[in-house]
Subunit: 487 residues, 2 copies
């Protein structure tokens, strides 16, 4: 999961961002169960139609049960977890432009071919930012190493580093009030964590906001509600026409330490050294695997997760899990000898973390066939215990989906919520294609997000079985209904 949900959120102006931030809120907790009051307004012919769809969907109860049994209790038990472990243990993390990402794409291509799926690669140009060697040391009022992670797209420092006095602020507003103090300083943002969607603005725009008032670098408190001195990385955006200064995240602990020191009137000096640089865009691929539809092969239900990650941890949670259940869903359907009317297409995106880069190119290429895209699905909020499906679509489509999720009663995930989300599917949803995302119990998601803590140790085999079952049932049934979802 990248910085901001949806390209709409990638805004140049901070003010615009703040005004829209509630819309862009990436935190799944903001999703709400759909209010069914609007149902009373449907016309009687709609009612009849709905009864027809309800009966049609209910007819899939047995096949849904078969899929669930296979995933949760049968031969496929633990398979998506095992696949994820094999994959991330072998490759490690896979940042955009890296050798590891290239290896990851080859690995998944081969694995899905071997699984008997119809696989191909679609080229995409992706950013190639490299971290290089980096370190930070507080040199006054006392010597202390600061744990840092440079932010994606940051420039580096001169080789000898930047040593400067620190100005600690708690908000953009405080920075504005203290603008006259910032020149020549390293600005430390010690913003409290409110929610990811709101607080990530500091990581995203802190550098340019500080540069505007003359800062030479920024160190930003990691965007997380919990820390064991763990820095978190992520993408950041320089504003056009503003000097580009080096920027990194520090830990909650060190941000609070420097804030307390500043409150005491102590002079704080930090030396920051970052070897970060941006290389020319790299060649990469979106990885596509299909089960072709028997009746309408040109019509598509798309399942997805992203294959790239940050360059720390294993990228198991973000988003190895989402990628694996999107593969697993096809495996389950294939293993049961099922083949829906429409094509099931799993896409493993490249360079999501840099702003859905691979997905945007996929959209540009395929939007000409938009009318054939029945449903676009993305799992990029973790694959912990599933809670329900988040959905964006017309009222009529919601009615159908409400029936579909009833098939998930055996695994107790029959909740349909508002607001499908996912950086990679948002172009489709904005263009009116129905979209769905997986909502999981994710209270600890941002504890590990973009940190060294994003490893297989946070994944659970049974949870992944449940997520896979949910994903497969929804995709299969929607792809096999008589009609595409109404727009």
């Amino acid at each position: 999961m990248m910085t901001w949900k949806g390209t709409l959120c990638i805004l140049l102006s901070l003010n615009v961002f703040l005004n829209l931030s509630s819309f862009c809120d990436g935190h799944p907790h903001s999703a709400q169960t759909i209010n069914s009051e609007s149902a009373v307004r449907v016309l009687s012919n709609d009612t009849a139609k709905r009864a027809g769809v309800a009966a049609e969907v209910a007819g899939y109860a047995d096949v849904a049960k078969q899929i669930i049994d296979l995933a949760v209790f049968g031969a496929a038990q633990n398979r998506s977890y095992r696949r994820l472990a094999d994959f991330t243990d072998t490759i490690g993390n896979r940042v955009s432009g890296s050798n590891n990402l290239e290896m990851a794409i080859k690995y998944m291509y081969n694995a899905m071919v071997q699984d008997g799926l119809d696989v191909h690669l679609e080229p995409a140009k992706i950013p190639h930012w490299v971290r290089g060697k980096e370190s930070a040391e507080m040199t006054a009022p006392r010597a202390k190493t600061l744990a840092i992670l440079g932010l994606g797209s940051s420039v580096g420092t001169p080789p000898e580093g930047i040593e400067a006095e620190v100005l600690v602020v708690q908000s953009f507003e405080e920075l504005k009030h203290r603008a006259s103090e910032a020149a020549g300083k390293i600005v430390v943002f010690n913003q409290p964590y409110v929610s990811y969607g709101e607080t990530v603005a500091y990581r995203g725009y802190g550098a340019s906001e500080a540069a505007k008032v003359g800062a030479v670098a920024t160190l930003i408190r990691s965007v997380t509600p919990f820390s064991i001195n763990s820095p978190h990385t992520g993408w950041q955006d320089y504003q056009d026409g503003v000097k580009r200064i080096p920027t990194a995240c520090i830990t909650v602990e060190d941000a609070e330490l420097m804030w307390r020191m500043a409150q005491r009137g102590q002079k704080i000096v930090v030396r920051l050294t970052m070897g970060a640089k941006t290389l020319p865009d790299a060649d990469s691929f979106n990885t596509v695997a299909e089960i072709k539809g028997w009746q309408h092969p040109e019509q598509v239900v798309l399942l997805s997760g992203h294959l790239d990650s940050w360059d720390v941890g294993q990228g198991a949670m973000d988003d190895g899990g989402g990628a694996m259940i999107s593969w697993e869903a096809l495996s389950l359907i294939k293993d049961l000898g099922l083949r829906p009317r429409r094509t099931l297409r799993t896409v493993l995106w490249t360079a999501e973390e840099q702003g859905g880069v691979g997905a945007q190119q996929y959209f540009n290429l395929h939007k000409v066939n938009m009318s054939n895209f029945d449903l676009v699905m993305e799992s990029d909020l973790g694959t912990f215990t599933p809670i329900g499906l988040q959905f964006t679509g017309s009222d009529a489509a919601q009615k159908v989906m409400e029936e579909v999720v009833k098939l998930l009663a055996p695994i107790n995930t029959t909740k349909l919520e508002a607001h499908g989300e996912g950086t990679d599917i948002s172009p489709w949803m904005q263009a009116g294609v129905p979209g769905a995302s997986l909502h999981v119990a994710d209270s600890r998601y941002f504890w590990f997000h973009h940190s060294e803590g994003d490893t297989m140790s946070v994944q659970d085999p049974r949870d992944m079985d449940l997520c896979s079952a949910l994903w497969a049932v929804v995709a299969y049934v929607v792809a096999d209904l008589q009609e595409m979802l109404p727009r």
Copy 2:
């Protein structure tokens, strides 16, 4: 808080350790509320005596309320937190033998003198182990940096490091079964976390157990129930007559990673480099502050925490908080113009983490006056929300203490539990002196313990006020009763 609770636990034989491990269990959760059934067996003259003590203790309700009000709502509100922040932010961590520990002792000496207390230092010789530069890198099946923390007392590696194949085991038993595979290897212990008291045996004895079967180094899964790729350090013990091999803790994540790789039959190779060494013992001090008793100045209620820490994080939780509330208790009593019959003595121990080294020397020096030690108290399990007092003493002493904790009703901490604990006070308790320790809500204690996460960010001002109030009320009232606690 060091490795094992009580010197009894520092055993040469693993078998003996395992047999005694339940006795030594350092985890505060094992404490149980004292069963009051034995009360029915007291003789009638005891009953009368008890009624007298109950009435006497109840007479302290007003003064207890005064102390609590001052600490929690009055002028002293947030003071112990602020003192701890000032102290740990200024000094940082303070490992035995370090310059920082020396500075810390001077700092606290001056601070307590300035506070108007009667302060002196008592010399102690302490271990001087230095970590040096250290790193570990998995070189096969793929390159990956391993986050490590060398263990206290470990030897270093040759400057070029040790590169060897890895043998991963999950228990001492598995190591025994696979002894023939261990020669020349780096043994990785991936023991599951059961409880600190039980699991810490791997950190304590892993190196010697592995050396006995020919290993060249050990990497031990950090002893914690939760991790964000955070290594935890701590003391370890080489067995006499066994080759001393380098030993460090790795993260839960990396231990599990290597275990999964080993399960797949993959060959794992690690290069370990540690600059650790042990220097000659250093000079240090236990720091002692007193309010002299007006009637029996030679009789003592001792409050304590330890001033040293590990060489990571800030040592705010372990045990800056315990040291601060032991100072704060005296400040509260002094600020209220109170002076008990007996002497209140706060001792800030040195070199607890190496096995209660400073405290043992204090005991050796002062045990000649043992009959004058009324109660020894230690806070070394965190200063989070207080739950109650853990107490070790005769049945008769327990009866008195049950009355004393009733005075804590205004802060809802009237629970008296069995088993006072604390490395530093255990020699006294073993010799029959009543001992008490602070029990707090510590479900996350071992998440931060001996790691970079032990900082001010885990401390809460109000919790520390409550701990200080509890500590002060108990110490003052016991020190002011007509009679010393019955042995």
